[in-house]
Amino acid sequence: MLRKTLERVPEQYEEFQTLSGIPVERLFLPEQKDYLYDLGFPGEYPYIRGVHATGYRGRLWTMRQYAGYGTAKDTNQRYKYLLKQGQTGLSVAFDLPTQLGYDSDHPLADGEVGKVGAAIDSLQDMEILFSGIPLDKVTTSMTINAPANVLLAMYISVAAKQGIAQQKLGGTVQNDIFKEYVARGNYIFPPEPSIRLVTEIFEYCAKNMQKWNSISISGYHMREAGSTAVQEVAFTLANGAAYIEAALQRGLGIDQFAPRVSFFFNSHMDLFEEIAKFRAARRMWARIMRERYEAKDPRSWMLRFHTQTAGCSLTAQQPENNIARATLEALAAVLGGTQSLHTNSYDEAYATPTEKAVQIALRTQQIIGYESEVVNTIDPLAGSYFVEWLTDEIEEQAMKYIEQIQSMGMGEYPMLRGVINGIESGFFQKEISGAAYRYQQQVDNGDRIVVGVNKFKIEEEDFEKTLRIDEVTQSAQVESLKKLRKNRDNKKVHDALEQLRKAAEGNENLMYPMIKCAGAYATIGEICDIMRLVFGEYKERTEF
């Protein structure tokens, strides 16, 4: 039967592959499985079927659009718009000077102020950013890494001014410095002091902010940089294990901080590969935490994650097609059991999205959540011969990478040392840029089809309806910064910064002096300059 069909209609390719290059058979058949060991039940170890016992039947995922541009005032308006449209959580995008610890009037900030995110120089800007938004009623995710401690200190201070105790605050600080060295590029200090800052947030949150996610370990940016799905899972979980070891090294008890560890993944175009990836990641983390690090609290075993659709899958050509792409990618995230989701806007291959484009992106999630009925049952793809096989395959390949990374380290904390060595030797960066190059070669020679780019092309009209950040933003921001420096109590600022310097030279948790600096309206540049002085700056390798 098969032979006849093949003779009549030969298959289009000799080998079929997932987007990440895993060979896929024509047909998958049942495999012997120990159901309880390999799969288990939702809300139970090893969590492959999800971290909640009732899936989305109790509550849908949090719809959380990453947003920020211009001044704090511009962004505050966008947040109010998104909340009015039915968004259920906030996600702050900071501009690059903020993410790199420079004030808006620093020479390196020229041209970057208010682009790609909101410009935040001091507590004053944070107060404006959240004005009229009660911080005990929303959860806030902040994409901030190298200066995460500074922004968290400012957030706590804003809440205090709103009369809200820090214990009540819910949200996430990204606080994942490893992936900055590997893929995202927004690092300031060398690895050792950076790890100190990361674990100080763990320690501070365990004591003072039990509802706050103290890290969001991110594979998203590695995938954007061109990694495969396997690399994304492997490098992210390796980084996760390294953070666990760093916290243990600091003397924290694993079940004190691990329940507040969260993750962030990409959702790309290969529907089944992505679903399998999310499922594999959950089972791997559960086993790593329980078997390897002997965590006892089930919450420490659970991999909870945020997902964003793949920015790198957006095309500048026929941009409206990106709505279809985001839909498929969002569906994969939901079928994979995500806890929160950002859907990209169709115009993002050009610029920061317009209000209209963001609305469509949010509506895409709402249509999946409220119209498609995919949320009715938990982990609906479980038991698919193909999806279960692919889940196992991704786990197996990713575990091999993790073992390789471990073998690059040694001593009592081999994953921590292995990851640092992998960063400093350029191992991760080269693995990823190699995969990115191979993918581009496949697109260029037509082995991979990207609709509108290398097939089904049309004469394009100019795409002009983009959001522009004008130069006025920078001058207005610099103006208000100058005013702040003149009007604040500069003696108080100086004393707070001096305390921070002394603490940085010692071993004290810097969150405490940093909250004092924030409260005195010290700027992010002033605070980070103190740390630059004490910790030095990181210089990357420039091989490719």
């Binding site: 020229d110 920061t352 795409f463």
Partner: protein, 136 residues
């Protein structure tokens, strides 16, 4: 006298950390027989121009995705003019169509936007340098 090999400086001006495109194009140019140097992230215009002079490159590739091209590209072009550096400058990244004519007026030879096949960039450089380089 003609040189043997095209030398390219791949540069990341500004603060954005996205260098997938820069690294992919760098690999393509290297595979096409060119010598490619990558500056790394977070470079100032001064650092880029200094590196171009120091390495005596034929081409500078500027990659920027943050939207700061309006501020940084003119600064780089002005510095190159002041220092009388004879070099072809090309650019790429997230750059809206409507901005391209202005950037070309500055003397940037070409802006490669998302979706450009790598071969197009290779061909463009080789064509521009056919009178200067032997092996082209």
């Amino acid at each position: 006298m003609k040189k043997n090999k095209i030398k390219v400086l791949m540069a990341k001006p500004g603060l954005d950390g996205h260098d997938r495109g820069a690294k992919v194009v760098a690999q393509a140019l290297r595979d096409a027989g060119m010598e490619v140097i990558y500056t790394g992230l977070h470079q100032t215009p001064e650092q880029i121009v200094e590196a171009a002079i120091h390495e005596d490159v034929d081409v500078i590739g500027l990659s920027i995705l943050s939207g700061a091209h309006h501020t940084l590209f003119p600064k780089i072009m002005e510095l190159l003019r002041q220092k009388r550096v004879d070099v072809i400058v090309i650019g790429g990244g997230i750059i809206p169509q409507e901005d391209i004519p202005k950037l070309k007026q500055l003397g940037i030879a070409k802006i490669f936007t998302p979706g450009t096949p790598m071969e197009d960039t290779v061909k463009f450089i080789k064509e521009k340098l056919k009178n200067k380089i032997k092996s082209v």
